[in-house]
């Protein structure tokens, strides 16, 4: 049931939401998270972001994450789209949509999906700075902590 896509090009939030809800009258709420590239606030500004991924495993991991959300909540639809390749500051990176009869499961599933995407889908971000240097983004403990919340409630 879930729509899972890995793509280089941009996505259209309105079109994806419309596709998820088209012809449905059983959906009461759609939760959504849209992640975008930040330029950062340090001395070096991010000039570009490069998203590397593991083709094949990425789609499998995203399908599993969606399936786990569908196991935990009564979802009426779910969309995960993640971009790869070069991205400019301000551009969208990731889209999560979760539809349900009521808002609580829709919003909880949205939070779960982005927490697990950040810790269980094989993507890696490299920042290219305006001074020409570059650095792979380090994994955040906060992301592991956020993802671990969901294991505890299992």
């Amino acid at each position: 049931m879930a729509t899972v896509r890995v793509q280089a090009g941009p996505f259209d939030v309105g079109a994806e939401t419309a596709a998820l809800t088209a012809g449905r009258t059983d959906i009461g709420g759609i939760g959504c998270f849209l992640g975008t590239v930040r330029a950062g606030s340090g001395e070096r500004r991010v000039a570009a972001m490069h998203l590397e991924h593991y083709p094949g495993m990425t789609e499998r991991a995203m399908q599993r994450i969606a399936a786990e959300a569908e196991r935990r909540w009564e979802l009426l639809g779910c969309t995960l789209i993640h971009r790869t390749g070069p991205l400019a500051p301000g551009e969208p990176i990731v889209l999560v949509l979760a539809a349900a009869a009521h808002r609580q499961p829709a919003l909880a599933a949205t939070e779960f999906l982005i927490d697990w995407l950040k810790t269980r889908a094989p993507f890696w971000k490299k920042e290219i700075f305006d001074d020409g240097t570059e650095a792979w983004v380090e994994a955040h403990d906060a992301d592991d902590t956020a993802a671990a919340r969901w294991r505890e409630r299992d």
Binding site: M57, V94, P122
Partner: protein
């Protein structure tokens, strides 16, 4: 979900992100070393391939592993034909 298996009797090794850059290798095919039964064995074998590999794979490594496109811990078995990927902790989303 269908099982992912690389063809052949050796191992198909993949590297991502800074590990790929540091090792200078995207992928390689190796014969299954006789000493390797598990992912932990494979880390030990990799650590013996020279200083760059040792820095990445020896001791309390920050490198993660997937066997046939599923995250795998040190206990996970390694078999002929497996696709085995090494990479830093993921940072997508």
């Amino acid at each position: 979900m269908s099982e992912v298996r690389a063809a052949g009797s050796g191992l198909h090794l993949l590297y991502f992100a800074w590990l790929r850059e540091r090792l200078g290798t995207t992928e390689e095919r190796v014969d299954l070393p006789a000493s390797v039964r598990t992912v932990a064995d494979l880390f030990a074998w990799q650590a013996g391939r020279g200083p760059t590999y040792r820095a990445a794979f020896a001791g309390p490594s920050r490198v993660r592993c997937a066997v046939n496109q599923d995250f795998a811990g040190g206990d996970a078995p390694v078999r002929p034909g497996d696709e085995i990927a090494f990479f830093p902790p993921v940072t997508g989303g």
